[in-house]
Amino acid sequence: MTRDDAIYDVMVIGAGFAGMAAALFASAQGLRVVQAGATGGIDFSTGFIDLMGVHPVEEGHRWNNPWSAIKAVVRDCPKHPYGLLERREIEESLDIFTGFLTEQGLEYVGRKERNTCAITPAGTIKRTYRVPRTAWNGSVALGKKAPALIVDFHGLKGFSGKQLVETQQHNWPELRSVRIDFPGGRGELYPEHLAWALADPLIRERLVASIAPHAADVEYVGFPAVLGLNDPQKVVTHLEELFGKRIFEIPTLPPSIAGPRLRAVFDRGLPSQGVRTLSQKLVTQVRKMDGGMFQFDVGSGAARVTVVAKAAILATGRFFGKGLWADREKLTESVFGLPVVQPENREGWHRSEFFDPKGHPANTAGIEVDSRFRPLGTSGLPAYENLFAAGAILAHQDWMRMKCGAGLAIATAYKAVEELNK
């Protein structure tokens, strides 16, 4: 076991969107930050940043303007975490977050007042607020129903250009697909390997040469998201030069390369902002010290580290992030044992149909916070003066059905940091 003698201003618990955003915002404000947490939802991310897309979920009503959608959801569900945020705060948080990504070579684009329609690897269309620059042309082509070719590869499972063409046949009649051999690829192919291979300009040339005969009459060529790991825009630009066509990426099924790209950005960018990251380590113990500071044990066995922080941000997510844990009777909060708002018993956690339009009550369970994003204790007052929460662990939101996951994580992290720093 090692001991870190520094006293941090804030411990960020969690390494998903909310945890990464909180570490970013806190370090940008000059706070001394330590971050812990296992790989969160980021590794399973599609790379899209949703802000708000569907409300009411039981009606499946989709919104093109996310800000109108947020207004509506706050009106109808006043406890939704967006109800604790001003539009200005949400906008600022997203600008800082995507600005950081852009600086790090992962540019995000989108429009100010509206969601963008993007094609998913299932062939469905989803609304999202910000997409990687490398996916943008896909949304443009979809909007124009432009002649486009989807390329997929022998050996890359879970991505079928034919599926996209079939599911979009009525909507996008000029969409076609072709399956080719990836240059030098044999047997099963993985997105990450293809991305590494495409770092070589010669491979790109061979790729273009084998697609060109199939792409004579299209304006756009779409690929599964394998076009480079660290600098995909460079690969896309080069392909566009070689091809004379507009190129776009479509995320593959998770775990896709979108996750490693985002993670790589934070792994590079946060330490250079002075954040101490204890990555892949979970907080195993927390103690309240005299004077109100927290002492955390992070990791276990010989690799365990003890750190002290003046405040903490809980961004551990819901079930997948293990912020909440379930036994047969109840849901509990994993780090502080905070009260969890939840249905009365397990029979109420899930509905009998998976695709029930109302969604599952377990997916709005979580912790409640005061107006400053401090988790409430059993008394209904903040459990600790210096503990804040952000992201999917917050109760009264179903980010998967409402399509507000990344946006909510980023915006609540921003607000939590602001309040903590007051």
Binding site: T120, T124, K162, L253, E347, F355, G359, H360
Partner: protein, 529 residues
């Protein structure tokens, strides 16, 4: 309307129906089997997969015990590919009824069911997960049987002998001609078309649905529907079948099923056989009860729950499902003035062959066919239809073939593209409302920890690539597949399965928007509110 002709029409593709098709085919009698959904879609696929030694019934039903003893031995002999002859033990723990325990050996002797008393410590050495509060243990000759392989192999041999079968064909009515059925009318659920079958004899082997089908023909059977739920563990907990040595209750038997174990069974009376599904309450009941016998069942990871309906034929107003006979009922509806109509229902998986034999005897007598039953001795050939249900078969075949282009589509159970193509080839069309579901029934697809979440998506892509699905149908069928896996997944969502379910929700709904309607809404992306 299309009309087919056959000598014998069998309704129902469970163990009894497919066993009957084989029995008749071996006797040289032309038959056609029609199944509403798919092979073993009812109780034949919703049970423990236990090949009873008979010991379970020695106290309650001597006749059933004797039948199980005899039939269990026959199945082990004729269909070894379907059987894991693991052996079984009966155990009692502190607090169990000691009189029942004391009587056990004597009762077994009465039915000539082989039993051997075990030292309690020796029993715990044989099965280390047993409770340390055992008070008695006995070895018996229980085994586990793969009901899907069994029915598919039965059907495969029947087909090879000239029988025919139709799946996804729902009986919608009978056309009577005086005291007999002239035509049976069906709806093909895949195509929506109606058709008729003309047969000399109609056998109703629809299990829990037998009463509803008989009523359409103007015959009457009083059936009590007893739903039983079971839990599947992620790992195999014991080598042998483990039975609780007591009067039958909710959670008495743990049966190994290849790489997993199956725990159950509850008994809940339901109003309609279509209402059958496992519940959270039953899941809790099963675990709370079973942990006294095997404590690790409290903490082990469960993969899913499932259930089946026992059709209990009653005369009078029996209301307790466990006290009604579990023996089978063979009813000649000449008594209802339908001379060419027979119902066979009830019974147990273990006795399916005997049920088929007795039914075929009546059929042959009515047809005037003089041919002896051969299924008592004739081996059941292993078939390519049935082989993919075996855990470990798909990975073995994948490794042996060493085909670098043969991608693994189901990673939990290692089912490859070539295996999927072989299964589809054997399905000969008749895909029902979801080809994925039909593939799942014939293989391990969807049976691992992901419960179809990941493999369903990958296989859907493959079905599109191969042209098996078009337009939005692949998505619709995928939703139907995931939806049907959910029935068994939702009752066990705590611990890691809940984490898995959260990931599934994030994928299907969060990332792919699959809960939303994608048929009506394509063009509104650019509209203003």
């Amino acid at each position: 309307m299309k009309r087919l002709q056959t000598r014998v029409l069998i309704l129902g593709g469970g163990a009894t129906g497919t066993g009957l098709a084989r029995d008749l085919a071996l006797r040289g009698v032309q038959c056609l089997l029609a199944e509403r959904r798919d092979i073993n879609a009812g109780a034949s696929g919703g049970n423990h997969g236990l090949l009873h030694s008979g010991a379970r019934y020695v106290a309650s039903d001597v006749e059933a015990a004797v039948e199980c003893r005899e039939e269990g031995a026959i199945i082990k002999r004729i269909a070894p590919q379907c059987v894991d002859d693991s052996g079984g033990i009966f155990v009692a723990v502190q607090g169990d009824d000691e009189r029942y325990v004391a009587d056990f050996e004597r009762m077994c002797a009465k039915s000539q069911v082989p039993v051997r008393e075990l030292d309690v410590l020796a029993a715990r050495e044989m099965e280390p997960t047993l409770s340390d509060s055992l008070i008695a243990a006995y070895a018996v000759e229980d085994a586990s049987v793969d009901p899907f392989m069994l029915s598919l192999d039965n059907m495969a041999q029947a087909l090879s002998l000239g029988a025919r079968y139709l799946r996804n064909s729902k009986v919608v009515g009978f056309v009577r001609d005086g005291g007999r059925i002239q035509f049976t009318r069906f709806n093909d659920e895949t195509t929506g078309e109606f058709f008729e079958v003309e047969a000399e004899i109609v056998v109703n082997a629809t299990g829990a649905w037998a009463g509803l089908v008989a009523a359409m023909a103007g015959a009457h059977i009083n059936i009590l529907y007893s739903s039983g739920s079971l839990l599947v563990t992620q790992d195999r907990i014991t080598r042998r079948v483990v039975n609780r040595l007591r009067k039958a209750a909710d959670s008495d038997i743990l049966v190994p099923g290849g790489t997993v174990s199956i725990l159950g069974t509850t008994s809940v009376t339901i109003n309609s056989p279509d209402d059958c599904r496992p519940t959270v309450a039953e899941t809790n009941l099963i675990i709370d009860d079973a942990r006294a016998m095997i404590p690790v069942l409290e903490t082990t990871r469960y993969i899913r729950a499932y259930s089946g309906v026992r059709p209990l034929v009653i005369s009078g107003d029996g209301s307790d499902a466990r006290s009604v006979s579990r023996g089978f009922s063979l009813i000649d509806h000449a008594q209802d003035n339908v001379g060419n109509f027979i119902t066979i229902t009830g019974g147990k998986l273990t006795t399916y062959r005997l049920m088929a034999e007795k039914t075929a005897d009546v059929v042959c007598e009515k047809l005037g066919v003089d041919a002896p039953c051969l299924t008592r001795t004739e081996p059941l050939p292993a078939s390519s239809m049935g082989k993919w249900t075996e855990p470990g078969r798909a990975p073995k075949s994948w490794i042996q073939n060493r085909d670098a282009d043969d991608l693994i589509l189901c990673e939990c159970e290692m089912v490859s593209k070539n295996a999927i193509d072989s299964i589809i080839g054997n399905m000969v069309g008749m895909r029902g409302n979801s080809m994925l579901k039909a593939i799942g029934l014939r293989s391990r697809v969807g049976k691992g920890p992901c419960q179809g979440g990941f493999c369903g998506l990958r296989i859907t892509g493959h079905l599109y690539d191969q042209g098996h699905v078009q337009g939005g149908h692949g998505i619709t069928e995928l939703k139907s597949f995931v939806g049907s896996r959910w029935r068994g997944f939702s009752p066990i969502l705590w611990g890691l399965p809940l984490v898995q379910a959260d990931l599934q929700e994030a994928l299907y709904c969060g990332a792919l928007d699959m809960e939303l309607d994608h048929n009506t809404e394509y063009f509104s992306c650019e509209d203003d509110e």
